[in-house]
């Protein structure tokens, strides 16, 4: 089996990966995690055994990197003196419905990942399970629980 040139993979899937990361961790950090995702992918690429689901492979790496970024952020909160409570988020960083996306990003890791993959990407539950290394059932449950929380918090 021969792998396509990495450039092709990058061009074909960069938009999806960036959209996934923007939804998962916000516009500010998405670009940094995009770099980490594709660098990790490029490092591992020659050892990849199958090239039939490169999007799923990239989304799996991206979802792990997004979870790492969430954890790093919790460990290192922004120093208090840098926070201006009166300031609105800069317009360029705002997603279309910022309050909703804040609620999405506050979900537990697996629920957040499942909700974004399901709705932002229309992934079927089986595919979702593959990306998240879980069963189809677990994926369905994570989406359900995540949506339930969003409905409670986002009105």
């Amino acid at each position: 089996m021969s792998l396509p040139p990495f450039q092709t993979v990058l061009e074909e899937h960069r938009e999806d990966v960036l959209r996934f990361l923007t939804a998962s961790i916000g516009r500010q950090e998405a670009d940094d995690v995009f770099q980490e995702t594709f660098l990790a992918a490029l490092r591992a690429y020659p050892r990849l055994k199958r090239a039939d689901n490169l999007r799923g492979w990239l989304l799996k790496i991206a979802s792990r990197k997004a979870i790492d970024a969430h954890r790093a952020r919790k460990r290192a909160p922004v120093p208090a003196e840098h926070v201006d409570p009166g300031a609105a988020p800069p317009a360029s960083s705002a997603l279309p419905d910022e309050a909703l996306w804040e609620a999405v990003r506050a979900l537990p890791d697996r629920q957040r990942t499942a909700v974004v993959l399901r709705f932002t990407f229309d992934l079927a539950y089986r595919e979702l399970g593959d990306v998240m290394d879980s069963s189809e059932e677990a994926a369905r449950r994570n989406v359900f629980e995540g949506l339930k929380k969003l409905r409670e918090e986002y009105r």
Partner: protein, 201 residues
């Protein structure tokens, strides 16, 4: 509400994938992960596709609509870590520009011979030593590659040259002065030999 929520979740808004890709390519090159870096290069003989490895120039192809095939071949035969990184090709591009402008007679580029083997490699390495302004024959390169009888094989080796122009297979003509074939078509061979002032008449 649920349908509305699901609809809202579909809209992440616009993303700037160009900027993200550009930063990634720079990081990949800096981290030494771009095993094969390539870029298109304009020339008077049509668009070229140039590719380098850490060892040097590995491929220079007449694009002719087969850029994708050239990249797939590099992915299969050198490394699938093929990245478009024009900055890595600056030196190659500059030297080709100078050559076509008539200001450069010899290329000062490291060559990665990985795509060639055995007799073919010896024929091409011997061809690489023929200077600007001179011609060789299929028989002479076959002889210098160690097999004077393998004139036809020498022709095949030159036809498989992965780095035309830089490895000047256009300088090889038939004994007696007929042009012979060329990997990019005989018209290009004529153009290059005219540029070098050695087109046989």
């Amino acid at each position: 509400m649920t349908a509305d929520l699901e609809r809202l979740l579909r809209d992440v808004g616009p993303v700037d994938a160009d900027a993200a890709q550009e930063r990634f390519v720079r990081r990949a090159v800096d981290d030494g992960l771009a095993d094969v870096a390539y870029a298109p290069v304009d020339s008077p003989v049509g668009e070229l596709m140039a590719a380098v490895t850490r060892r040097g120039l590995v491929r220079l192809a007449y694009e002719d609509g087969r850029g994708d095939a050239v990249l797939s071949d590099l992915a299969a035969r050198v490394s699938p870590r093929v990245i478009e990184a024009p900055a890595r090709l600056d030196d190659v591009r500059r030297q080709l520009d100078e050559y076509f402008a008539g200001r450069r007679h010899a290329f000062d580029l490291a060559i990665d011979w990985e795509l060639t083997h055995g007799f073919t490699r010896r024929v091409l390495q011997s061809t690489a030593r023929i200077p600007f302004g001179e011609l060789g024959t299929y028989r002479s390169v076959a002889t210098r590659a160690g097999n004077a009888a393998a004139v036809r094989a020498a022709g095949n080796a030159l036809g498989a040259n992965p780095m035309p122009i830089v490895v000047p297979c256009h300088r090889i003509v038939r004994t007696g002065g007929a042009l012979g074939g060329y990997t990019g078509g005989v018209q290009r061979k004529e153009f290059l030999l005219t540029l070098e002032g050695t087109l046989p008449r």
